[in-house]
Every structure is written in structure tokens, then in C-alpha cells.
Amino acid sequence: MTNKSSQQRTAILGPLLGSELREWILLCLLTREEVYARALAQELGFALLAVQRQLRALEDGGVVYSRLRGRTRLYRFSPRYPFRRELEALLNRALEALPKRERERFYTPRLRPRRAGKPLPR
């Protein structure tokens, strides 16, 4: 199940990975280092279950690992995945090939710290 926000994204590695959603999840992992399913589902405009299924498949394949923080399961690229460097290089190439506006969407939300109470720039 997709909505408007997913339809506005370009998939470059989709044919290779067998899934556009998987590509976007991997790109989010590349740019954010750590992701969780609900935020990805909201951002990418997919059903939570679909995102969870992709993350589970990536975890089963050793590409990512997860750990619980509170009640949230956080995912990262696994340092044990032997093709991590090659995968990151491929994803970086795919990211560079995206139109600038789309590429920048993978860089949000802002990751650097901001003092509590200071409003975020619009």
C-alpha cells in the first residue's frame, strides 16, 4: 500500500533489489545510520507492516541488525555484513543520481543537535 509521498520518489536500484521500498529503506539507513519502522512507514508512505517485513528480511539476510531502545526497535547496517562497503558505495552512487530535491529529502529530518526550546527553522 503506497500513498502520494512514495509515488514522488525515484527508484534507481529497485529493479536490482526487487523492491522500491527496500531501496528507499536502505537509502534512509545510509543517510541516517539508525531508523525505526514506524518513522520510515510515515515518511515513505507505506504500510507499517510492509516496512517491517522489509526490515525483517534485511535482518535475516544479515544486512542490518536491530536492538530495542525502550519499546522501539532501531535498525542499523550490520558491521558483520561482509558486503557493507560495496553496498554503501552502490547506495551512495544511487543517492548521487537522484534529482537534487529528492536527494535532500533523504537528508531530513535534521540529525545535528539543537538546544531544547530553540525553534526549528522552517
Partner: protein, 185 residues
């Protein structure tokens, strides 16, 4: 099949041999290798295998069921032992970014057992120390180094390739300190 009284090495060999007999290639990794190499100085309850081909899980289940293992979530349990079998680890056998040659099978009480070499076992533990700062994994790596001959130059080269030279130096310092302490006692 009764599995009571078997050592970890023997139990791992029984499981590995059964998987191989069913056409799988299975390599023992993880804490069980530490347990085997560190001669009882470390206790693990997991027999972690990297298995190929990954086909339908039912084929692996059939192989393990012949030994009396039954699935419980993603692991396999047996009434005769506290050790659990995990075959969910993805192929290929690797330590960090280094893909390993598949180890040749050794004979253990008539069964085939493929397992990481002591050097690769140390690297396997160091991955967790390098990337997650896991002190238990560092301790396990040291226990294997104290008990077995390992290729320290190879471990150094591999560590540099992983971009982990500072942590490799930390590991070497700790190992030297432990070796001295062992000599004194």
C-alpha cells in the same frame, strides 16, 4: 537420538554432520567456537551455524528433527541438552568485511565438523568489540589467544582493513597484560 553427556565439540559435530548429510554446508561460528578453543574457560549455550543453501526451512527442520531437535521461535531445542541450535545466520561465513574460505571438515568422534579456525574465531569476537564496544567479546578473544596459537599479524592486518587500529592496539595491550598475569600465577 540421545545427546546426553556429549561435549560441546561432539554435539556441534553431531549437528553439523547431520546437516551435511542432508546436503547443507554448515560452519560453526560464535561463542561455541570460543568454548571449544578456550578449553572450558568460557560457557556458551548457543550452537550458531552459518548454513547454505538457505532454501525452505522445512529441510533444515527435517534434518534437525532426526536428532530430536524441535523449533522454538528461530532456534532449535533438544530435551537432552541446554545448548540450542541457531541456523538463521546468513551465508557466507565472514568476519567483518572479510569473507572466509569455507573450513574443511574435521572428524570428531566419527562426525564431520566445520568450524572457524582459532584466528578467525578471534576476529569474529573482535568484530563485536570493535563495533559495539562489547567487553565480553574482547574477553572471549583474549581467552582464545591465551589457549591457542593464532596468527596475530593476520589479525593486525585485518583490524587495519576494518579501520580499527586504535582498538586493535587496545586489544593487544590487554592481551599482553593477561599473558603476564598468567605467567606470574
Amino acid at each position: 537420538m540421545r545427546l546426553t553427556g556429549l561435549s560441546v565439540r561432539q554435539l556441534a559435530a553431531v549437528v553439523c554432520d547431520r546437516l551435511e548429510w542432508h546436503g547443507f554446508t554448515a560452519v560453526l561460528t560464535g561463542g561455541a567456537c570460543v568454548m571449544i578453543y578456550a578449553r572450558g574457560k568460557y560457557v556458551s549455550q548457543d550452537l550458531d551455524f552459518v548454513v547454505t543453501p538457505r532454501g525452505p526451512l522445512s529441510r533444515i527442520e527435517t534434518a534437525l528433527a532426526e536428532l530430536g531437535f524441535r523449533p522454538q521461535g528461530r532456534i532449535y531445542v533438544h530435551p537432552d541438552t541446554d545448548m540450542v541450535v541457531d541456523v538463521g545466520n546468513p551465508w557466507p561465513p565472514a568476519v567483518g568485511q572479510e569473507v572466509l574460505e569455507v573450513p574443511a571438515p574435521r572428524r570428531v568422534a566419527g562426525h564431520r565438523l566445520r568450524l572457524l579456525s582459532p584466528t578467525d574465531c578471534v576476529k569474529d569476537r573482535l568484530v563485536a568489540f570493535y563495533h559495539w564496544n562489547d567487553r565480553q567479546a574482547l574477553e572471549q578473544a583474549i581467552l582464545v589467544c591465551l589457549a591457542r596459537k593464532v596468527d596475530m599479524r593476520g589479525i593486525g592486518r585485518w583490524s587495519r582493513n576494518e579501520g580499527m587500529e586504535p582498538k586493535y592496539r587496545q586489544f593487544r595491550r590487554e592481551l599482553t597484560r593477561r599473558r603476564r598475569a598468567t605467567c606470574r600465577t
